[in-house]
Symmetry: C2
């Protein structure tokens, strides 16, 4: 019988899933997830809005809709994104997707032939990497430092890979490292994209969750030549269960993406799109975002302070200015053994090699999530991690 297609046959379930399985045990404290804080969900507002929708326009919420997305939500997003420099009415368009993940996957589908390169930060979001792998892309990792991709390394990657589908980057509070790409670096990345005539896919799921430092302009907002495809999402600012994201790009690209989405999901759940629209227009959205930033700021500080207080000095941690993740790096030694020892003591973290272009590569780092656990879990979990670390480092 048929074998699986070449494109997908090599893709395996992500290593993270195995770790996450251990977190089904309720006695395990999980720093391994990437979920928004449950206390950040505006439950009462969503219930009221949902009820209004199903009272006032139930057929619209339940019937087939158009692939491009709920027109009112698209219009609101276009206006909001235009204000932020991420959308230009004249030559761009915006389509609603089932989460930003579908926007990323669609970019691979419509741009990447099998064997072509996709250039990423040398550790990157596993969901995107697997989306690229599912089209048999050649993943090329570019070394990063505290300011993001190193331009010389990016240029070398572009030179080495003339058949590059696009550069993929998460400039704000990157997953997994929490690092923000500096303004200079963003400019350099864009210039290199122009020089080598390649596209950039800018993934910005956490951009609104900045709780320290100053906003850095998106790469999209600096693009004057239509090279940047922008992916955004309601998952971190409203609810991920809704599965509502969006993609902005040149009209021809969104046209092709529309064809691709017509043939896969047809359209995103329409109730969810209506909920998102009413939420951003009926509730004080900026106030809601402020509340989220407060939650994440507090949780991040709590975890960082706990780590600094109790972990061996030799283990370094990034200090993110937003988002959901911290990145720890061991001085030496066996990172996987550390993660395994931690989970045996009922604290789950994600081993850094899960985020490498090649999962079998060597990493001395691990990812910690501070948004999902409670304050008590953060304190207790870090205490346990520290005990484990002290026996090893």
């Amino acid at each position: 019988m048929n074998a699986f297609s070449y494109r997908i046959s090599g893709v395996q379930p992500s290593a993270i899933r195995e770790i996450l399985k251990s977190t089904a045990d309720p006695s395990v404290i999980s720093f391994a997830a990437g979920n928004p804080a449950p206390e950040a969900f505006p439950v009462d507002e969503i219930r009221r809005i949902s009820n209004d929708i199903l009272q006032e326009e139930p057929i619209a919420a339940l019937q087939y809709s158009i692939t491009e997305g709920y027109p009112k939500l698209r219009d609101w997003l276009k206006e909001d994104m235009a204000k932020k420099g991420n959308f230009s009415e004249n030559d761009e368009d915006l389509i609603i997707t089932c989460g930003a993940q579908q926007a990323i996957e669609t970019c691979a589908k419509i741009f990447c032939n099998e064997g072509e390169a996709i250039i990423c930060e040398n550790q990157s979001f596993i969901g995107s990497l697997n989306a690229f792998r599912s089209y048999n892309a050649k993943l090329v990792g570019v070394e990063t430092d505290d300011d993001g991709m190193i331009p010389e390394k990016l240029e070398k990657a572009l030179k080495d890979n003339p058949r590059t589908a696009f550069i993929y980057t998460i400039p704000n509070f990157q997953n997994p490292t929490g690092i923000t790409t500096s303004l200079e670096r963003r400019k350099a990345i864009l210039e290199l994209a122009y020089k080598y005539n390649v596209l950039i896919v800018e993934d910005n799921p956490y951009g609104e969750l900045r709780f320290a430092g100053i906003d850095v302009p998106t790469i999209k907002s600096m693009d004057t030549k239509g090279h940047v495809i922008y992916a955004g999402s309601f998952s971190k600012v409203l609810s991920p269960g809704l599965r509502v994201g969006y993609m902005i790009a040149a009209k021809s690209i969104i046209g092709k993406a529309t064809v691709a989405l017509q043939t896969s999901t047809v359209h995103a759940n329409i109730w969810a799109q209506m909920v998102a629209y009413r939420f951003v227009t009926e509730v004080n959205f900026e106030e809601h975002l402020e509340k989220l930033r407060e939650i994440y700021k507090r949780k991040c500080s709590l975890m960082l302070n706990s780590l600094k207080f109790s972990m061996p000095m030799s283990i370094a941690f990034t200090e993110p200015e937003g988002g959901l993740f911290l990145w720890g790096t061991l001085p030496r030694g066996d990172m996987n053994a550390f993660c395994k020892a931690a989970v045996a003591e009922k604290v789950a973290v994600v081993p850094g090699n899960a985020f490498l272009m090649n999962e079998k590569g060597v990493s001395y780092s691990f990812r910690l999530n501070y948004s999902t656990p409670t304050d008590e879990q953060i304190e207790k979990g870090v205490e346990i991690l520290a005990k484990v670390a002290k026996t090893m480092f």
Copy 2:
């Protein structure tokens, strides 16, 4: 800058969309859609259920969930499908998708290398054809008669295309023709799949909407060798806006589909999955289905009787035993001119060539939908169609 990938560069927006655009004009009577009857939506029940969910378990409805789908819904479906012979616990699995369309697209992604064949009924559902086209599949159409695919023609297609990814079929009330594949033909198709060692993708979105004749066993229920992938959906029996469908296949296949869906939509909207679960368990689902069958039976009869009463005798119509569509075939002449003349008189139908493997091919047929228009629209629209037809045939 990058061209689109080879796989998708040839795919154009479907011809149907152009027709559907004309239906944005509210004075146009549309027989061109494929929407469930709006009066078939259980609006009050869904509103109550939604409110209960957002009251009782809001975080579960709003947080990330697992790719496989909402466990309670999966369990209910497994049990229901096992009763119907479509699921076997031992060697099969079931995954929730964003509509059956995503199941179909995923089959192409995981099985069809570029240039490989997918064998379909010679006119078939345009959404599926475009999904296959988006992976650069070679579409091979098999001639059908009133009993479905003709086995000799299917065998020839299999012989001619040793690199076939799968056979795609809609055995019940096919879209666009309304034809049901007979039991003998289903057996013959399965035997040929065994003989040539290929998979079958059985798409059954309308199976529960039988309003005449006797149920025919699914191909899946006769499969003893794990060759059949089954796609089902809540779109026609509950609401398409929910975007909840499912896919049943051998465990290894569902495992690979899970990887594919993890990297695209992550999971289907979880609120919608919970609504579907509570609906099928809290409401008398069989009674609801009976109500739907009554609605479709009545509308189908109304359209067929009107057509028989007023259309020229030389135009033939299928008499479906379920589903949403009728298929008209002109004796000769220019079908596209007929469709254009009809839309000029404010009645939209879909030209038959839209459903061919090659849209530029010749068709003398057109598709009529009876589920979406009101009774008045059916009567008035058929009257107009008849007037147009009489001037031409």
